[in-house]
């Protein structure tokens, strides 16, 4: 296994780890708020569940990046490409946008969604407004994912 492959593996791990941590923290924050509402009004479970799911997507984006990278370097076919160090670095850098933006946006989306749980608690009929506000944060995670994918598919092997 070349140094390039090791670097690509590190990049994939960073993408999955950081984005996953962001999501875990975000979902945890919303879960706390949701539990508070459900302790008073269990009928609002389905409405707060939607909000709790929102910060979970960053983890999925990180995982998607990991899978894509593994596919690109031929891990699934069992024929791993012998990457140069420069190629390895390129893959690692390509993983950074979703890793970093995923971490930060996951946490922030969690806070926004937790605040939106308050809307659901007090004015359930305005639940969708809270979902929209929380989903706005998602835009930047999606952009980061696109950047990572575009960088990755354009690295010549």
């Amino acid at each position: 296994m070349t140094n390039g492959v090791v670097l690509a593996f590190i990049g994939a791990a960073i993408a999955a780890l950081l984005a996953g941590i962001g999501s875990a923290k975000g979902v945890g924050t919303v879960g706390e708020a949701a539990a508070g509402v459900i302790s008073v009004d269990p009928s609002k479970f389905s409405k707060v569940l939607v909000l709790e799911l929102l910060p979970g997507t960053q983890g999925l984006y990180g995982f998607l990046t990991f899978i894509l990278l593994m596919g690109r370097i031929g891990v699934f076919s069992g024929n791993i490409a012998q990457l140069t160090t420069a190629q390895g670095w390129s893959f690692l850098v390509a993983c950074l946008p979703i890793a970093i933006v995923g971490l930060i946006s996951g946490i922030i989306q969690g806070k926004t969604a937790a605040a939106s749980v308050g809307i659901t608690a007090k004015k359930p009929e305005h639940n969708t407004k809270g979902i929209i506000m929380s989903a706005m944060v998602e835009t930047y995670a999606i952009l980061a994912l696109l950047v990572s994918i575009l960088m990755m598919i354009n690295i010549a092997i």
Binding site: A33, G36, G110, K111, A121, K122
Partner: protein, 313 residues
């Protein structure tokens, strides 16, 4: 939104806010035919969530946020009131239980026992010295009013000091507002009763925007100087209300607290929404008490409406 502390507690109270009375609900209660109709309207609003009491709400809030120390500052006035009750009951050899108010930070039974044994060391730091001083003063002079003013002033000082030491911006502003409104009332009453400068110095606490010395000097100068001084402070509206009537001033003080709590309740995390919720519950209970008393005295709709405090919704 730097911290997500108390996210669960805040979300829970947001759900509970729906059972609080709104302005429209209060109007319905004012128009209700009698207490029975009013009670059924309240029961319908609470929708089986049980009777709303300050003590019950406090217990629930402490369960949700047991480590939120700054919340305790909200109960300092109750603690100091209970200190007055306990000391006076002790001097008069009467049972203090009937005079205690709840909720409190200090268990009332424990307070009686500790004061009885003169064991001030086991009282919380914010009340310890005051308890000792007030006891000495009361036993030496038997002047209840003097002891009251000492304790009241100490309560305000403790609120401000502890809010500054470990409280957030909201509780600091709250402590300042409570102190200012109490100081205005005390100085005004002292002025009407032609009390000495010495007495006022012991009774007025002072706060950032209402200087103790200036307020006392203004009160010593008579009514005109007192109200002109208030006009130059952020409490000019309080002065105008006080010039109208004591009831108008009391309403201003309560409404000012609710206005202060308004942005605090919008927060998604932290202690502030919990504190704002407790304040709003107290305001609602006060409104219901006023309504009941007004009804008993046969007050008309306009008078009752005029006396109603600001509510959450």
């Amino acid at each position: 939104m730097s911290s997500t502390k108390y996210a669960s507690a805040v979300a829970a109270i947001k759900a509970m806010e729906n059972t609080l009375l709104t302005k429209a609900d209060m109007e319905q209660l004012i128009n209700a035919g009698g207490n029975a109709e009013a009670d059924s309207l309240i029961a319908a609003k609470r929708s089986g969530s049980g009777e709303l009491t300050a003590e019950g709400v406090w217990t629930m809030l402490r369960e949700y946020a047991p480590d939120c120390d700054e919340m305790k500052i909200l109960l300092y006035p109750n603690d100091f009131h209970n200190l007055k009750a306990a000391l006076k009951a002790m001097i008069a050899d009467r049972a203090p239980e009937d005079y205690y108010i709840r909720p409190t930070n200090i268990d009332t039974e424990q307070l009686s026992v500790l004061l009885g044994k003169k064991d001030y060391e086991h009282l919380p730091a914010y009340i310890r010295n005051t308890a000792e001083e007030a006891y000495e003063l009361l036993t030496r002079t038997l002047d209840g009013q003097l002891a009251d003013s000492l304790i009241d002033c100490a309560a305000l000082s403790a609120m401000q000091k502890d809010a500054e030491a470990f409280g957030g911006k909201f509780i600091q502003a709250y402590a300042e507002l409570i102190t200012a409104s109490a100081d205005i009332k005390t100085a005004y009453r002292a002025m009407l009763m032609k009390k000495s400068k010495n007495f006022m110095e012991g009774a007025v606490c002072g706060s950032t925007h209402l200087d103790k010395t200036d307020l006392i000097n203004a009160a010593l100068g008579g009514s005109e100087s007192f109200f002109s001084y208030l006009d130059m402070t952020p409490y000019d509206e309080a002065g105008k209300c006080l010039a109208r009537s004591a009831a108008a001033f009391e309403k201003w003080a309560d409404d000012a607290v609710m206005e202060l709590a308004e942005p605090a309740r919008m927060q998604a995390f932290g202690c502030e929404p919990l504190e704002a919720y407790y304040i709003s519950v107290c305001a609602e209970l006060k409104n219901l008490r006023i309504l009941r008393v007004c009804r008993e005295f046969g007050a008309d709709r306009e008078t009752i409406t005029e006396r109603m405090r600001k509510l959450y919704g």
